[in-house]
């Protein structure tokens, strides 16, 4: 059984079709790149998988079951924008996550934060943007989830932070889980991807194994993407 199965998914807002007949299937143990330009529909797909939006038609199955309360328990989601109260201290956010998620490993979070040389007594509001993004990623990756969904985790961070984020994703994902990473910054992330899904104007244009695609096209994923969607 596939971990994620999206069948004939469409979504319209005010008669405008944002997603058109999207079909995606993702098995366990993969790091998958959801790649597309701004406005292609990546975040809409992610919100639908997280049951934050309702499909106009089609369905999404997580481990064979329709999305809902049960699927939320096994999906760890890093949204594009923060939802944390910035007046909270890091230690407060940790206990908040611990209360909220049964699968949250606070020891793991503390260990990862320690490696960042970060005091847990610090308020989020007092931190730089890059630091806040690292803290959020640590929280999301410290859950023992079946599926991690990271929406634009590299948006606006410096190269050193970007490397830290990629390493944290790699070293904290276990073989039974999968990670979906949405981004338009393909070259930064492509080395860690098993599979790529190209999204354009609300449609899936291609789903492939990353190395197979490089081999076939004799080019990087970034280059292949640019060729397909010249702008």
């Amino acid at each position: 059984m596939e971990l994620v199965e999206i069948k004939h998914l469409s979504k319209s807002f005010d008669n405008k079709e944002i997603l058109k007949d999207v079909n995606i299937s993702i098995s366990s143990g993969k790091i998958v790149g959801l790649l597309g330009k701004n406005g292609a529909g990546k975040t809409t797909i992610i919100k639908l998988i997280n049951d934050l939006l309702t499909p106009t038609s089609g369905e999404i199955l997580i481990k064979g079951k329709k999305v809902g309360v049960e699927s939320k328990k096994i999906i760890s989601y890093l949204p594009e924008r923060t939802y944390l109260n910035k007046q909270m201290k890091v230690s407060e956010v940790i206990s908040y996550f611990k209360d909220f998620y049964d699968d949250f490993d606070d020891n793991k979070a503390l260990k990862l934060l320690e490696a960042l040389d970060l005091s847990v007594d610090q308020k989020l509001a007092k931190m730089s943007k890059g630091m806040q993004e690292k803290v959020q990623l640590v929280l999301v990756m410290s859950r023992n989830a079946d599926l991690y969904i990271l929406d634009e985790p590299l948006g606006g961070v410096d190269p050193a932070t970007r490397d830290y984020i990629l390493d944290t994703i790699l070293s904290n994902f276990n073989e039974d889980a999968s990670v979906i990473i949405s981004t338009h910054l393909i070259s930064d992330i492509e080395r860690i991807l098993d599979e790529v899904i190209f999204i354009d104007r609300g449609q899936v244009i291609l789903q492939s194994d990353a190395d197979t695609l490089r081999n076939k096209e004799k080019a990087s994923i970034d280059e292949i993407f640019r060729r397909m969607f010249r702008c």
Binding site: K30, L170, R191, D194, D211, R214, K218, S220, I221, D222
Partner: protein, 118 residues
């Protein structure tokens, strides 16, 4: 050590190259137990699945083998490693002579230059 990867080539093929050189140069010796897939993936900073694919390819080439439940080992067949080393050495030598030919030097002259280098 920092490993760099060219995004234009399949990552597993580049890993395969790194691994072959490790075997040829004796970083991992004949019959030696190899680190786990995950340890390798952490070292190279690559996806464990990609690492697994590279190791599977090495196994296909009989350069490493899996001992049931016990992990992966370098082949005990020294001949095989020497053969691989030979292939690499010949390729390097060929490319040296080709480069020298491009600047108008024949084989004999090229060898003289080699002897002059410490």
């Amino acid at each position: 050590m920092e490993f760099t990867f060219d995004n234009n080539l399949p990552i597993y093929i580049q890993l395969l190259e790194y691994m072959k050189i490790y075997l040829i140069s004796g970083v991992f010796k004949c019959g030696e137990k190899l680190p786990s897939v995950r340890d390798f993936a952490n070292t190279f900073k690559v996806n464990p699945n990609t690492m697994q694919k590279a190791l599977a390819e090495l196994e296909e080439m009989k350069l490493i083998y899996t001992e049931r439940t016990n992990g992966k080992y370098v082949t005990k067949d020294e001949e095989l490693i020497n053969k691989l080393k030979d292939e690499y050495a010949i390729a390097l030598a060929k490319s040296y002579f080709q480069g020298m030919k491009r600047i108008g030097l024949g084989k004999a002259d090229s060898i003289k230059y080699l002897e002059g280098i410490e």
